[in-house]
């Protein structure tokens, strides 16, 4: 496993760094910090509970350290998360600050869910040659991003891939995740703009992106479809049937933009499924 471990430890409250380092170095997936509760470490096959009880100051420290004390560098807090150096995503629980009907931030933090960005070179090797547009499906925590990271790398060894890394998690600068030979990364750029920019300026054979979540993402993908560019993306769905049931993804299937999907299971296995309505 490759992971920006030092960067991860640096955003944790000092009282738990040593324990996390001892228990989680090998297979840590997630750290849960909840106010007035002990720390929960979720590893590959087991969960550890530390004795340390988390305080509000600990939560604030983690958010401050992850944003490098610069709230403007963490504008995604209004979307409920921020990405720390090394690509670790921090989901935030607390009280939403609403201005003009829009969520502008989160105050009085109550919990943080730190998803550790990990790289397993070679996990997507069994997929083989990918020549079609492809969707990677899986429930949260099934390893979509990790799988996509390796798949992109494999494709980028053979052809030119533009990666739209909206959350800065796929190939973060602080992590030494091995990039593909022909890979261009557009970080922290929203998907619709990123796709347009990549098409116009980076001359890709394939455009890859993580987590299609909104209608605008789907529309951008459809706009980019049939341009002679292969598309690669991930989406939250337990299987193809789940994907059909979610109205936001329907246009992707109806337009036959994506005809096959790699479905990831919780046990880290995968299967290829054909898609049709």
């Amino acid at each position: 496993m490759k992971c920006a471990w030092k960067e991860l430890l640096a955003i944790l409250p000092q009282s738990i760094r040593q324990d996390v380092d001892n228990l989680g170095r090998e297979m840590l997936q997630e750290i849960r910090l909840r106010k007035s509760q002990p720390v929960q470490l979720i590893c590959h096959k087991q969960t550890h509970w530390l004795k340390t009880v988390i305080t509000a100051a600990d939560l604030n420290y983690t958010v401050n350290a992850a944003s490098r004390y610069s709230p403007w560098a963490a504008t995604t807090i209004s979307q409920g998360y921020l990405t720390a150096q090394g690509g670790h995503r921090i989901g935030i629980g607390g009280e939403a600050v609403i201005r003009d009907g829009q969520i502008t931030g989160i105050k009085y933090l109550t919990s943080l869910c730190i998803r550790v960005a990990r790289d397993f070179p070679g996990i997507a090797a069994s997929v083989g040659q990918v020549s079609d547009t492809m969707l990677i499906l899986g429930p949260p925590g099934s390893g979509k991003t990790t799988f996509l990271r390796d798949l992109i790398r494999q494709i980028a060894d053979k052809t030119c891939v533009s990666v739209i890394d909206e959350r800065g998690e796929l190939y973060p600068q602080a992590a030494d995740f091995m990039p593909g030979r022909q890979m261009d990364v557009l970080s922290l750029c929203d998907k619709p703009s990123g796709i347009d920019m990549a098409l116009r300026t980076l001359g890709p054979s394939c455009i890859a992106m993580d987590e299609i979540t909104s209608e605008s993402d789907c529309n951008a993908l459809i706009r980019a479809g049939w341009c002679g560019v292969q598309l690669l993306a991930t989406a939250h769905a337990a299987d193809v049937q789940d994907l059909y049931s979610r109205p936001v993804y329907r246009p992707l299937v109806q337009t036959r933009l994506f005809r096959s999907a790699i479905v990831l299971q919780k046990d880290k296995s995968w299967k290829l499924e054909r898609m049709k309505l």
Binding site: A10, N64, S67, R68, Y69, S70, P71, W72, A73
Partner: protein, 170 residues
């Protein structure tokens, strides 16, 4: 007799030195304030157009300034990079604590800046910096007014005080 004269010269030189030192401090305070205003301008541009994170911003400021101010900014940047303090204000306060040699007016302005540091969104942070910059500008104006007279009075007062003391002792 010679010893008397030597003592008198030493007293005059000592008191004159104090006066000249005060005049020099006055100039140094003015220069540091001017430097700080320039750095605040850089902060505003960098934040507005690049949204630079604070540790990097202070590192740049350290490279763009000289003397005590450069040391202070480098210390703040180091504190922020170490990620030990709970917030940016704490980092700044701790760095300021180690920079007691900074002129009073500059210390005051920097303490003001630390209160808004990393507390608000980009607009809030820019407003905070601009408010401190405006206060620095006012203080600089104060210093520049009657600058020549004040510097001359410090020097003259030093020399005169020395001469008066020398006469008393003689």
């Amino acid at each position: 007799m010679n010893l008397h004269w030597l003592g008198a010269i030493l007293i005059i030189a000592g008191c004159g030195g104090i006066g000249f030192g005060m005049a020099l401090n006055y100039k140094r305070e003015e220069n540091t304030l001017r430097q700080l205003i320039r750095i605040m301008d850089m902060f505003c541009c960098d934040l507005e157009y690049r949204m630079t994170p604070l540790p990097e911003l202070f590192r740049k400021a350290a490279n763009a300034s000289t003397g005590q101010l450069a040391n202070l900014f480098a210390n703040v940047s180091k504190e922020l990079e170490n990620q030990i303090a709970p917030d940016a204000a704490y980092c700044m306060a701790s760095a300021l604590h180690r920079s007691r040699e900074l002129p009073g007016k500059v210390l005051f302005a920097l303490t003001d800046l630390s209160r808004s540091l990393g507390e608000y969104d980009l607009d809030g942070q820019l407003q905070g910096i601009k408010a401190v910059q405006a206060s620095c500008n006012r203080q600089l104006e104060d210093l520049e007014n009657n600058r020549t007279q004040r510097i001359r009075s410090y020097q003259t007062l030093g020399l005169c005080a020395g001469a008066a003391l020398a006469i008393l002792f003689l």
